[in-house]
Point group: D2
Chain length 215, copies 4
């Protein structure tokens, strides 16, 4: 099971969350990745935690001010990247370009989308994984098992029909171990979460509760 | 065979091109659509020509200043729309939203993209057609048969694998009847062209030459 | 006094609103402009109403699919355009480019912004007018006189300091004649409104009430 | 005199350039800032060089995946930021928002623009400095003194008229000490350059030549 903790622009201590993630990951079979601000990538990677960028730009070396170059992200310790998060929607052509950039330096890729049609489209671009973020679950605290679980199953089926090698993650409605278990039963092989860990009083305890079904 | 003449922002007379398109379409089995500036849609539709918008926005009725509402486009005579043209790349989520908007009022949809992976992604969103615009052919005057014809065949295969009901058009490198014939032999069931007709001294003659293989 | 009725993407009858605007404008010294969907510009202009586009693109004649060409808007009867509405925020460079496009064909220009600093910036680009849209007034129905009237006065002062020839309009919190009167007393020489007229059961009566202080 | 070396997405060693910048700055009165990829900010700042971000996002702490949070940039050693570079044009409202974000944590701000009107608009937003990037000079290697020097003088006058406290830098056409001298004579109090140093075989020698007029 893959677990990604997206630190967004939260006022958390990225190193403390990363240290917790690294420790908790050792207690289970799960991979626990942490996606900090790009300026924090190196500090997060130094903890030993699996480190993801929140985005890389669809550019190569060259005159691209303000971009996030895949080579730079990789050189600072990232091993993967999110793309097209619901808070950072990108052009179809640019998602494709960012996937090319990530592939160039060996970053794992997770493309987010919010319904089965877009999940199928994202899968067709050849990422390592797609993450379905049902809009009705984003940021609400509603567990995926209590909202529309069908959308996760439909997303799994949609990605499978296009490219069975693409993993499907559940990108919203995940806070607890029960939510993770529910996502797994719906066919997801990973989960994305954010505030449930990043804004927790005790991120380590939140992560331990989350991965409890995997221990 | 479907032929779409994209008038872009060219300084042509949209009504004259539309009248020529309507007349020439009658002489053949081809559908010849004309895509003018949105403000010109009604005048173009009044000629009897098949009329397309160059874009519709991913919005419903509401507070959306500066958008192109599908309902408005349809009320002014359009029967279809281009989406995601290489000069107007859109977010994946917005292409999906624009397809929903077009479906709501019954507009036919053609989603452009410039390589087989993006064509597969576009096809996964469920449009009526996709149009492959190989970058090396856009605006160069290079005929598709002389440039990389493999990209058209690959696009046809990619769309077919995702959804066989989606038509594939060739969206660049088309000026003459020979080009149209070449596109058809590569598996395309339609072509998009622009300056070859819109900027021709005699648009009617240009269209007649184009559809000559279809008469 | 200048009054602009922004029809946005509302499900109203643009011709009926335009006819009411043309009639009511004759009863007063106010100019009453109507800004419909671009596809509706010609039909609105035919009523004799002062017709505005909701946006024009920063492009010249050429290969620009999906753009709104100033020449096309003007040819279909528009005499002015909004730019940078709060629902259609644009890049600084593109607002400048759209002003150039509008100037090329003689369209009057109203650049929207939502605080005095941005109003000063907009005024520096040399439009005919700027419109301040205090965020706390947009779409709330709160009259400008009851919310923060200081922002309108500050906007008037900010524009005056940069370029005294630029008119300042009040772009939110306007529904009634009292609101228009309040805006005028705060230094605005025009108002923008939308749902108060466009979604009124009787747009003519709504306009008559609005301009009552001007009769 | 202020000198900013923009490393863009170049394949240079950011630490080596920063070390050279820190050393050369000590030999003169100039401030020499280095603007690397955001993931490289901490490593660049550790050299002691004045460190700038290439961009910060118009956001506060919160749910903003893929953004560049001013707090994060500052925590990793940046003391300033570019905004609205010609390769990263932003919405007027977002430049304003990014300036607010930068002010919140005390970052110096340089807003780029490419003609005197946009320079005046940028100055009206209250940055510490504006940088004029005449399009005919960007990336061409043409020295500012040989191209249209009037645009720099006009930019200086335009910013002065709006807010005399805003510095004006010359953001293109700078490679050598002669170019820096020419920019200073045209009224600029700083220069931005990129490939002339970042892609030089010997960045230190390139910087020494650049600041030679200031020693």
């Amino acid at each position: 099971m893959f677990v990604l903790v997206n630190l967004k622009a939260y006022p958390c201590d990225p190193v403390a969350v990363a240290e917790a993630a690294a420790d908790v990951a050792e207690q289970t079979d799960a991979t626990i990745a942490v996606a900090p601000q790009s300026a924090d990538l190196a500090r997060v990677a130094e903890t030993g935690a699996t480190t993801y960028a929140q985005h890389v730009s669809p550019v190569e070396h060259g005159s691209h001010t303000g971009s996030v170059l895949a080579e730079s992200v990789e050189a600072n310790g990232a091993v993967g990247t999110l793309l097209n998060h619901s808070e950072h929607r990108r052009k179809l052509a640019d998602i494709d370009g960012s996937l090319d950039a990530a592939d160039r330096v060996g970053l794992d890729t997770v493309v987010c989308a919010n319904n089965p049609e877009q999940i199928a489209a994202a899968a067709a671009l050849g990422p390592d994984a797609v993450a379905v973020e049902p809009p009705e679950l984003i940021g609400t605290g509603t567990p995926v098992s209590q909202a529309d679980p069908g959308i996760v199953e439909d997303a799994v089926a949609a990605a499978e029909a296009v490219d069975p090698s693409v993993d499907v993650y559940c990108g919203a409605g995940i806070s607890t171990g029960d939510d993770l278990e529910a996502a797994r039963e719906l066919g997801a092989s990973g989960v994305l979460l954010a505030s449930g860990v990043a804004k927790a009083d005790d991120p380590r305890a939140a992560l331990e509760d989350l991965v409890e079904p995997l221990v």
